[in-house]
Symmetry: C2
Subunit: 154 residues, 2 copies
């Protein structure tokens, strides 16, 4: 894929991840969304369900991985993961566990996850500085700071 | 707690984690178990449920974290996590996310997880070289190598 097509594709799939985040927000949850893409198609989509499922582990990326189903290791080796927010240590660890080679991040101004670790381990990390992702997280962090702190273990 | 009491306590809780692993084996699953301990009591127990729940994320440690419930970050700051096998990158990332300060590992001969990363980030990591944990994993890896590879993304 050339650079222009890749940028267009990234914008498209980040929008899908954002729609997941927006759905989470509307449900009263933590507004972080994720989609997994393989061969140009979404194979799993999810959003943070800490509130909705009373869960300690269902971050957006984990929810999308679970939605993708139980797969052999080879399945993940050409998957791209799109997430609206820089992935925390748990979600980054899951990316490394399954050997997902590429991660596209909506924004990292609200929270800086383990991007350096991912890059160090050979993951191709792209950051989009997406204005909608930033605005949604800002609104959430302002409205529900305790919930946000809980989600990142603070 | 003095050294002798800590060793006795570690042996006791590793046995509880092993019972979880054994339950997982009996269910036809990946035999890795975990308990979370706070103030001398188990606050969450679980085992790998990849097979049982058709899950990509329910490793033993994740299952135990989920069983512990949705908690504020402060809850985890004096928790010890006992796991029968060296924790993979996902589970190690979850330990770092919640700031769990101490991890006791049954064995790492069958699989070496992210012990170095945990230690580097300040987690107190103890390794018991537990013969029962080693024997159960050896049996499982011999009987179901494909399932084991799937669990670690190979």
């Amino acid at each position: 894929m050339d650079t222009k097509n890749r940028e267009s594709s990234d914008t498209h799939f980040m929008r899908k991840a954002f729609e997941q985040a927006r759905q989470g927000f509307d449900e009263g949850g933590v507004p972080i969304g994720c989609v997994l893409v393989k061969a140009g198609a979404i194979v799993g989509a999810g959003h943070n369900r800490r509130v909705q499922r009373d869960s300690a582990i269902l971050h957006g990326e984990m929810d999308a991985l679970e939605a993708t189903g139980r797969r052999p290791g080879a399945f993940y080796k050409d998957v791209t993961l799109y997430t609206t927010l820089s992935p925390c240590s748990m979600c980054s660890g899951a990316i490394l566990l399954y050997g997902i080679p590429r991660v596209v991040i909506g924004e990292n101004r609200s929270f800086m996850g383990e991007e350096a670790l991912l890059a160090e381990r050979g993951v191709d990390v792209s950051l989009l500085h997406d204005a909608d992702c930033i605005a949604l997280m800002r609104r959430f962090m302002h409205e529900k700071p305790e919930l946000w702190n809980e989600d990142i273990g603070v």
